[in-house]
């Protein structure tokens, strides 16, 4: 398949009808298109897949807005607009023209649902043109949809090709591309042929032979069932293994952060402890203040009370020189201590009574004695309270400092951990063990099914032998038997061929991949295509092969190498496969159309990748922006470029947005202000 041209009609940014010539030869296989961000490089890439398969990649947004916005906006309601992509290409000596188009009647500013139709015309070598009846089928037979992913790709997503989980699809794609699928299909079809033949044998072969044949049929059915089960099991196993790998990956990440986590836990515990120590000290202080705090205010009170007591003593009021109780006794008795009778209201009585007021009460005296007796201890208690409080303040201060320090440390550690994913290790570990268990079960089952298949194969062999020995009288049955025997042999032979071819292709692809990868990278890494068509990257450390964790850039290079290797091998194989006659000139040739292929690569890698691609791909369409493409890429690719173009951005953005691109000493418009937002394909050479 070689692309000749593409014509876009109102296809997203590309207003009206725009054509870009892509014809190239082996000397100059490259078409190079520049475009600013948003100019429509990805749209251009997707135009190919839309024309061929009616699909666009998921990274194309607003897929329901296929018709150029300005065209749609200007369209009167009720009128129709057309969107179409036409791709011309040749394949194995024939020219093809595929046109996918849709007309949409405007009912509102929203674009409605499309039902595009696809048409395919072919020009025979004699020049006559005819419509191909089953266009989509034919396209699939020329370039299967699955395979196309390797040839029409977005460089920013190309690493998905080598991502875990993509292997099953990659493997399928490769088989299609490298003609292995046809063998597989043949093997799958043979039993049906066999069944038809053996039906005759059963009908006419007599009891013995019929019995044997029935047994063989049963075995065949079992075999088919077992094979189906094996397929399911293998895909389950792949899914489980992938899941386990991702869990293991998480665990590994966790292992890296485990020491930090451990420290954070320790700091966290200490922080808890410090906080509760601080809170305990604060509570202790509060209780002390609450129960004994009043003592703090008693200093002046004590002093004045002491002074008061002192003056009472000095005045002689304390201890009382005369007790009131004594005077009362005299008054009650009616007789003074001197013997004078104390008659009420007599002079002596008045005299003694007068003393009664001056005499102190025993109780008051006791109370004062008790009170002054308490002053010194109270003062001591107050001092002690002061000391206790001071000690507590110090403790609180220390604990507060500790809390602050720990909080700072913890937040620092939290920051370190924020980026790593913190699933519960316990749960992860459990999950992994469970997955391991389930993988084990699947593997056992796979082993069992495989053993069963072997047994069945042996039994079929046995029965087939018995069948050939069985006496068959009917001529028709004899014929059927020998034909069936032949089919069995063919099937076995094909199976052997498939195994050999598969291994052969894997080895060649592996070798090719190694060669391409080596020519690009400066790292001492070696890619390997395993028996399961799994891509891995190793590095040799003193004779030991260690897996390399792939970086984004490395993944891109690996994918590009893989694509280049597949492309090269496809050509070689298609050329070899002809048993008779020369192969068609472009057999196994596929174009590579890539968008932003150099996105995340360093300058030296860009250079190496461009060089490798220019040499390896039979036809290459490269879409780049100024920043990706000028410099190394242009220098390397220019000698191979047959078509050079710019996707000119026309924008309604205000201000001086204009920008030019300088190519081979000439300046060309890159971005221009315009009445409407759209892009134009401009051919430079």
């Amino acid at each position: 398949m070689r692309l000749q041209s593409i014509t876009l009609t109102n296809f997203r940014q590309f207003a009206d009808v725009q054509t870009f010539d892509l014809t190239s030869d082996s000397v100059r296989p490259v078409s190079l298109l520049f475009g600013a961000n948003g100019a429509g490089k990805t749209t251009f890439l997707n135009a190919f897949t839309w024309a061929l398969y009616g699909t666009m990649s998921d990274d194309v947004e607003q897929q329901d807005r296929m018709i150029t916005d300005s065209i749609w906006r200007a369209l009167p309601i009720g009128d129709s607009a057309e969107v179409a992509v036409e791709v011309r290409f040749d394949h194995e000596g024939r020219d093809y023209r595929v046109l996918r188009s849709a007309a949409l009647r405007k009912e509102s500013d929203q674009q409605g649902v499309f039902s595009p139709k696809v048409q395919l015309w072919t020009t025979k070598p004699d020049g006559s043109s005819e419509t191909v009846g089953a266009p989509q089928e034919t396209i699939h037979s020329i370039l299967p949809r699955g395979v196309s992913r390797s040839f029409f790709f977005n460089g920013e997503r190309i690493e998905n090709l080598v991502k875990k989980g993509a292997y099953a699809e990659v493997q399928k794609d490769i088989k299609v591309l490298l003609d292995l699928e046809q063998v597989e299909r043949a093997i799958a079809h043979l039993p049906k042929v066999d069944r038809k033949l053996t039906a005759d044998l059963k009908k006419h072969g007599g009891d013995k032979a019929s019995g044997i044949q029935e047994a063989i049929d049963v075995l065949d059915e079992r075999e088919t069932a077992a094979q189906e089960e094996l397929k399911v099991l293998e895909s389950d196993l792949a899914t489980l293994t992938e899941e386990r790998d991702s869990v293991t990956d998480l665990l590994r990440q966790h292992a890296e952060s485990a020491p930090i986590q451990a420290e954070r836990d320790a700091v966290g515990n200490e922080l808890e402890e410090a906080r509760s120590a601080r809170d305990a000290a604060i509570a202790e202080r509060a209780l002390l203040v609450a129960t004994r705090g009043f003592q703090a205010f008693t200093d002046t009170l004590s002093e004045s009370t002491a002074a008061m007591a002192q003056s009472l003593y000095q005045k002689g009021a304390l201890p009382a020189p005369l007790k009131r109780e004594f005077v009362d006794q005299l008054l009650d008795d009616g007789s003074c201590i001197c013997g004078t009778p104390l008659t009420e209201h007599s002079v002596p009585w008045e005299h003694v009574k007068d003393w009664r007021q001056r005499a102190g009460l025993q109780a008051v005296e006791t109370a004062w004695q008790q009170l002054s007796g308490q002053i010194a201890p109270l003062s001591a208690a107050r001092d002690e309270l002061c000391d206790s409080l001071a000690a507590l303040m110090k403790r609180i201060g220390a604990e507060r400092d500790r809390v602050t320090r720990l909080e700072e440390r913890k937040s620092e550690l939290d920051g370190k951990l924020r980026d790593s994913r913190m699933e519960d290790v316990q749960a992860l570990e459990t999950n992994r063990m469970e997955l391991d268990g389930r993988i084990g079960v699947k593997q056992q089952r796979i082993g069992a099914v495989k053993a069963e298949l072997q047994t069945i194969a042996k039994e079929v062999d046995q029965k087939t032998k018995e069948r050939s020995r069985a006496v068959v009288t009917d001529e028709l049955a004899t014929k059927a038997r020998s034909r069936s025997d032949l089919v069995q042999s063919v099937k076995r032979a094909l199976e052997d061929i498939l195994a050999i071819r598969e291994e052969d292709i894997r080895r060649r692809l592996d070798a090719e991949l190694k060669a391409v990868f080596k020519s690009i990278t400066h790292q001492n890494h070696v890619p390997t295509l395993s028996a399961g068509f799994e891509l891995t990257l190793y590095k040799d450390v003193n004779g030991v092969q260690l897996p390399v964790p792939k970086s984004t850039g490395e993944n891109q290079i690996l994918s590009l190498s893989f694509v280049a290797a597949v492309s090269k091998l496809a050509r070689e194989i298609r050329k070899e496969r002809r048993a008779e006659g020369d192969s068609v000139e472009d057999a196994g040739t596929y174009p590579i159309v890539m968008d932003a292929a150099f996105g995340s690569l360093d300058q030296d890698y860009q250079e190496a990748v461009s060089r490798a691609l220019a040499k390896m791909a039979p036809q290459l369409v490269v879409l780049v922006s100024k920043s990706q493409g000028l410099g190394k890429v242009v220098t390397e690719l220019m000698p191979y470029v047959s078509h050079l173009g710019v996707i000119e951005t026309h924008t309604t953005a205000p201000g001086s947005v204009s920008d030019d691109i300088e190519l081979e000493g000439m300046s060309y418009p890159y971005i221009r202000a315009a009445e409407s937002d759209h892009s134009e394909l401009k051919v430079i050479k």
């Binding site: 202080r285 509060a286 609450a290 009043f294 003592q295 703090a296 008693t298 009170l301 004062w368 109270l378």
Partner: protein, 157 residues
């Protein structure tokens, strides 16, 4: 001292019920008794005696009030200093008079604490601790609150 004491009770002012609740709940004051002792000491220090009539809850028995060490000393000292020229204020029979004095200073102390809570924009628990600390650091007495201090408790915005 005498049997009559059994009937002597100390009232707490109803006006400061909320503050007393706060002191119990947040400042670790185990009982109302502790609050009254503390606030009376503060009230006397602040020379603030405020009569009140409305009492909250059941009055506290004098024996309960004077459970803690030096608490009766506090009650007596306040009375002796207030009724300075009458040593007989200490007479057992004048207990009710002493308690009335005590109650009024307790009321004044609570009023003062409430003022400080309002002015300092601090919870009562902190005010209480600060008051004790201030009593220890200097001769005591309320310092006039500076503008800075007034503003420090305010959050803008």
């Amino acid at each position: 001292m005498t049997i009559a004491l059994a009937d002597v009770r100390v009232r707490r002012p109803q006006q400061h019920e909320a503050l007393m609740q706060e002191l119990q709940n947040e400042a670790n004051f185990p009982t109302f008794r502790d609050i009254l002792l503390f606030s009376a000491a503060v009230g006397y220090r602040q020379e603030r005696s405020v009569p009140f009539s409305a009492a909250a809850g059941d009055p506290i028995r004098y024996e309960t009030l004077t459970g803690p060490a030096f608490s009766d000393t506090l009650v007596s000292m306040i009375a002796a200093n207030v009724v300075a020229e009458d040593p007989e204020i200490m007479d057992a029979v004048r207990i009710e008079e002493r308690i009335k004095i005590f109650e009024e200073y307790a009321n004044g102390g609570l009023e003062f604490i409430q003022e400080q809570v309002n002015v300092r924009h601090q919870p009562a628990a902190l005010v209480v601790v600060d008051l004790v600390a201030e009593a220890f650091t200097e001769s005591g007495g309320a310092k006039p609150v500076s503008v800075d201090e007034l503003l420090s408790g305010v959050t803008w915005g």
